[in-house]
């Protein structure tokens, strides 16, 4: 045994990435829509107009991401986890959901939130630090995003079990990353979901990096391949192809609705930005790798396709950009105008029913605050 530690391998460029080899692809990086034999039928109804709508989503979500990053740099947000590069994975999958489906996500799924009907203004308060949740989960069918890695895979499984018990044909979907597949909870969720045939879709965005750790450090085999060991059918998809992502997600949801149980999707994508605004990826990854993935940009390929179809005109592009700018401005205004929370809100909702210990602390703290002259 050598006592030297192997350096983490680079995550891989699209050309050499084993995860992408054989991944389902409908829209090529050059913008050509292909006849994918197995999944193409799932998106046969997605015509130029529908694709323009998906393009609009992606442009808006990227604009939200840029604006939020700027807001963090300007001190208006404490932190922001950019999703740059993952727009197709998030929007293609989230637009496959029905309103009565339920999404359990990590903190990076701001594109999913946008598709579920979370307003950009509602994305701000958590990252500004004024509240723990920007929205009521039941109002949009999306749980408050999860910070503990992979914990939400079990929540989605339990919720799906509840759907099954209720006789509903809705489904739950769990969003998590490549790093999360190493957590025990992800394995336990696959075991529970397979055992009970829960109507849940495990949607893994392999964005190649868990902060500084490449996906090669998380697994010695493909992530999609791992699901087979749990008895869960899986598929790898080009995560930067919005059509292919939508197609495989629709297929997985259809299986769940029909009582076929869980599915696992590995969306092979790339985190083009930092882990969060507090991260510096130049310390751990090669510029060449990022450049290679830039050529796989999920928005570029849709634009190439729509331009070749003659539907993404300069006028339409300007409309989309104007819409995105307007969304960004509304989000900025909401963020900057957001008041700090009332100190007494500290004690709210810790319990649903009265709890004498915390009630006493609340009373005392209120009296303490009242003791200051300027509080009166």
């Amino acid at each position: 045994m050598s006592n030297t530690v192997a350096a983490p391998r680079a995550s891989g460029t699209p050309d050499s990435d084993p995860a992408l080899r054989g991944a389902v692809r409908i829209l090529t990086p050059s913008g050509e829509r292909t006849d994918e034999p197995e999944y193409g039928c799932q998106v046969a109804d997605v015509d130029d107009e529908a694709l323009l709508a998906l393009h609009d989503d992606m442009v808006v979500v990227r604009r939200i991401d840029t604006e939020a990053t700027n807001l963090q740099r300007q001190g208006e947000l404490a932190l922001w986890p950019p999703l740059l590069g993952q727009e197709a994975a998030q929007i293609g999958s989230a637009r496959a959901l029905r309103s009565d489906d339920f999404a359990f996500t990590s903190y990076r799924e701001n594109g999913v939130a946008y598709c579920r009907g979370v307003t950009p203004a509602q994305l701000m308060p958590v990252w500004r630090g004024v509240t723990a949740s920007g929205w009521d989960p039941y109002s949009v069918g999306m749980a408050t995003p999860q910070v503990i890695i992979a914990a939400q895979t079990l929540h989605a499984t339990g919720y799906a079990l509840g759907l099954q018990y209720d006789g509903s044909d809705a489904a739950a979907i769990a969003y998590f990353g490549d790093g999360a597949t190493s957590e025990g909870d992800a394995s336990e969720a696959l075991v529970f979901a397979a055992t009970y045939k829960a109507p849940v879709v495990f949607f893994c965005q392999n964005n190649h990096w868990a902060i500084s750790e490449p996906v090669t450090l998380q697994s010695g085999s493909s992530l999609a391949g791992r699901a087979a060991g749990f008895g869960v059918p899986s598929v790898a998809v080009d995560g930067n192809d919005v059509l292919a992502v939508m197609a495989v997600t629709r297929a997985a949801l259809a299986r769940a609705r029909a009582g076929g149980g869980p599915s696992f999707i590995e969306a092979v994508t790339y985190r083009m930005g930092p882990h969060t605004t507090a991260d510096d990826p130049t310390r751990y990854r090669e510029p060449a790798e990022l450049e290679a993935w830039r050529r796989m940009d999920p928005i570029d390929r849709v634009e190439k396709h729509l331009v070749s179809r003659g539907v993404l005109t300069d006028e339409r592009r300007a409309e989309t950009q104007a819409h995105a700018d307007q969304v960004a401005k509304a989000m900025r205004d909401a963020c900057i105008g957001m008041p700090d929370p009332d100190p007494m809100s500290l004690f709210e909702h810790v319990y649903a029913e009265p709890h004498s210990d915390i009630d006493r602390q609340r009373t005392r703290f209120a009296a303490y605050l009242d003791s200051f002259e300027d509080a009166r």
Partner: protein, 333 residues
């Protein structure tokens, strides 16, 4: 009224809860055909079916994480953790998810999850089968912690816990599963969640404990009475919140308090009780609060557990300390 063991009372309480509310689910390892390793769920799967009484894979984090999702969907899961020492794989789901979801979602999502845990020593178990992990959970905001000591409370408090919209850690002292008593199943008494109970009135010192040690404390009070010492015995029952009114009322009268628990002493529940009682009863105390607890050691092999667990004599040794008499606990560095 009917005579029940504590295990039987818990079984009856679960049956009543399953009958009363179709959203109540029971889940855990070996709880179906086997009826649980302690038979607390005996017959329930046959009666309510495998969906409402679910055998789960052997994954405690999976049990609690799945329960979170079920609660998200409006269900009221009752999770059985097979043994105290097996709860730690679920610790993250309990403290990071179950305890915080209501707060995190600004009250939108309730977590009415009851986590039943057989706890404590005294039955000669193997390693990891005798722990008293209450302090971890009583320390965690968002959780309620209940510890029962007798069949009547087991029957009542289990149903109260299941009906509560907050998550409840429900500790069952396994050495008392076979304790038998008359149980009134009429449910006509006021809800007991959050309250302590004075089991025996006395004047010279207050002996506070919970769970498996309550019977030991009552026996110690009998023995003390033979020596002319009058002990008031309080069963804490609720470890979060703590019924400070009941404790302060008693200690202000007796002026002395002995706190007993099986868990290790340092940073245990006894430390919180001693501090809280001192804050409330400082001018009434004739002696510093005295703790009689398990030692600060991993739970020992079963042939040693009788030395580790507070017994009648060690409780009386603590009472001697509180009364200012010679005691192994009398002098502190």
């Amino acid at each position: 009224m009917s005579a029940m063991t504590m295990g039987g009372a818990l079984n009856a309480g679960l049956r009543a809860a399953l009958t009363a509310d179709p959203k109540v689910l029971v889940m855990g390892e070996d709880i179906g055909a086997l009826g649980g390793v302690y038979r607390i769920t005996d017959g329930l799967q046959r009666e309510f079916g495998p969906r409402r009484v679910m055998d789960t894979p052997l994954a405690e984090s999976g049990i609690l994480g799945t329960a979170v999702g079920l609660a998200y969907r409006g269900y009221r899961p009752v999770c059985e953790i097979q043994f105290d020492g097996f709860i730690y794989p679920a610790f993250d789901q309990i403290v990071s998810q179950v305890a915080r979801m209501h707060s995190r979602t600004n009250g939108a999502v309730k977590m009415p999850i009851t986590i039943r845990v057989p706890v404590g020593g005294g039955i000669g178990s193997a390693e990891h089968h005798s722990d008293s992990p209450e302090a971890y959970f009583a320390h965690t905001p968002g959780l309620r912690v209940v510890s029962v000591s007798n069949p009547q409370d087991a029957y009542d408090l289990l149903q109260d816990a299941i009906a509560c919209d907050d998550p409840v850690l429900f500790f069952e002292p396994k050495r008392r599963y076979h304790m038998k008593a008359e149980v009134d199943t009429a449910r006509s008494r006021p809800a007991a969640m959050g309250t302590a109970r004075v089991l025996r009135e006395g004047t010279d010192a207050t002996l506070v404990t919970f769970g498996g040690l309550v019977q030991v404390a009552l026996a110690a009070a009998d023995a003390a009475a033979d020596e002319g010492v009058s002990l008031e015995v309080i069963d804490l029952r609720s470890l979060s919140p703590i019924d400070w009114v009941a404790l302060a009322t008693s200690v202000r009268r007796t002026g002395r308090v002995v706190i007993a628990h099986e868990a290790p002493e340092s940073v245990g529940l006894g430390a919180e009780l001693a501090a809280g009682i001192t804050e409330r009863c400082f001018y009434f105390l004739e002696h510093a609060p005295v703790r009689v607890t398990g030692f600060d050691i991993p739970f020992p092999p079963s042939k040693l557990e009788r030395h580790h667990l507070p017994d009648l004599d060690r409780m009386l040794d603590g009472v001697d300390a509180a009364l200012g008499r010679p005691s192994s606990l009398a002098e502190e560095d």
